[in-house]
Amino acid sequence: MAVAGEKSEINKIISDGIWQSNPIFKQVLGICSTLAVTNLVLNTMVMCIALAFTLSLSAATVSAMRRSTPRNVRMMVETLIIAFYVIIVDVLLKAYWPQMSNSLGPYVGLIITNCIVMGRCEAYANSQPIGRAFLDGLFNALGYSFVLLIIAVFRELFGMGTLLGYQMPYFSGPHWGKWIIMVMPPGAFFMLAIVTWILRSIQMTREDKQK
């Protein structure tokens, strides 16, 4: 029975993180980074990996320390832990992948202020066991990643006619007037709104059917 309960809890973590309460289109958290990095697919991918690393490990660490942390300083401790992992990511990128560190510019450091990380630590990790907190962080990061990648694919394709830096047929050709606005910040707002609209509509239709 206990095993079955654990399994359904994990299923719930997965479906909540990726779909039911997706951090981007349902909780509407972490929007700043969504708008900032999604004009190139490669940058988006690295950002997502960095966030997955930070989010899952911060959640696990917060969870591991939840019994010893006094309640009145818990947010300071959480911020400290998040900042710790982000700096580690930043330093490792600088040392082992300098080109990517250059092209992500200031955004890696900004993961610290990504509301998803703090949100998951506060809402879930500081009252749940380590394993679950880790999974919750990981699947929330995956939920964030898939929405970002959808946005990034359209922005890069329409705005620059490339994907991952490779020229795409038709879109890089003369018949496609590149939509510069897609790679500029306003394009991110449009794409985010459209993607949220579509995914929310799918979600709502499904819920109606279940009733």
Binding site: P70, M76, I180
Partner: protein, 205 residues
């Protein structure tokens, strides 16, 4: 002990000390690599702006060897520029320049031929401009514009024109959607070139 008023302070102190020491450890451990990476990108930037010095297919070691063997360090006759010789005669200067970009400093190397007027290339080895917008200054499409441009004797050695405008022999196109980066870069390049020309002229007298 947990009920004591000072406990949260002590706890915070210990936690901070613990995580900070790990961060310090990791950054010490990777410091050499980071410095080496910076040095390498600078060396490659110098090679890239000098005619015939750079090879896209050459590995990092080969490029480092070329830098060591072919490039002369700045001396009093080059006013801060690295130089390369061809057949025993000075062939081109590689001038390191830098200044404030939109987010952070932009560091670049600009290549000038022995006539001190013809640009042989530009490379950016450190910049944090907006990815996808200002950061397009690092693309070959943008950088290759500079090749063969002639430094003007007017107030602006090189001028940035709106994308689509007709270009003169000292003009390049700015980056679309990155007005700030373009304006700042124009300033960095022009100040760098002017200062250098002035120093060179003083040196010659």
């Amino acid at each position: 002990m947990r009920e004591k008023k000072w406990f949260p302070i002590l706890y915070m102190f210990i936690v901070t000390a613990f995580f900070s020491s790990i961060v310090i450890g990791v950054s010490q451990f990777t410091k050499q690599r980071v410095v080496a990476n910076q040095k390498r990108s600078f060396e490659q930037a110098v090679l890239a702006v000098l005619p015939g010095a750079y090879d896209v297919n050459a590995g990092n070691l080969e490029l480092h060897r070329r830098f060591q063997e072919q490039i002369d360090k700045p001396d009093e006759f080059s006013a801060g520029a690295y130089t390369i010789k061809k057949d025993g005669r000075l062939a081109a200067y590689a001038l390191p320049i830098q200044g404030q970009g939109f987010w952070a400093p932009i560091k670049a190397v600009i290549g000038v031929a022995a006539d001190k007027k013809t640009i042989t290339g530009v490379t950016f080895y450190e910049q944090k401009e907006t990815p996808g917008l200002g950061a397009q200054i690092t693309t070959i499409k943008f950088r290759s514009q500079f090749q063969g441009k002639i430094v003007s004797t007017g107030p602006k050695p090189l001028s940035f024109k709106r994308p689509g405008d007709v270009l003169g022999k000292s003009d390049v196109h700015a980056v679309t959607g990155a007005t700030q980066t373009s304006a700042r870069l124009e300033k960095i390049i022009n100040e760098g070139l002017k200062n250098w020309q002035q120093k060179m002229a003083e040196g010659a007298n």
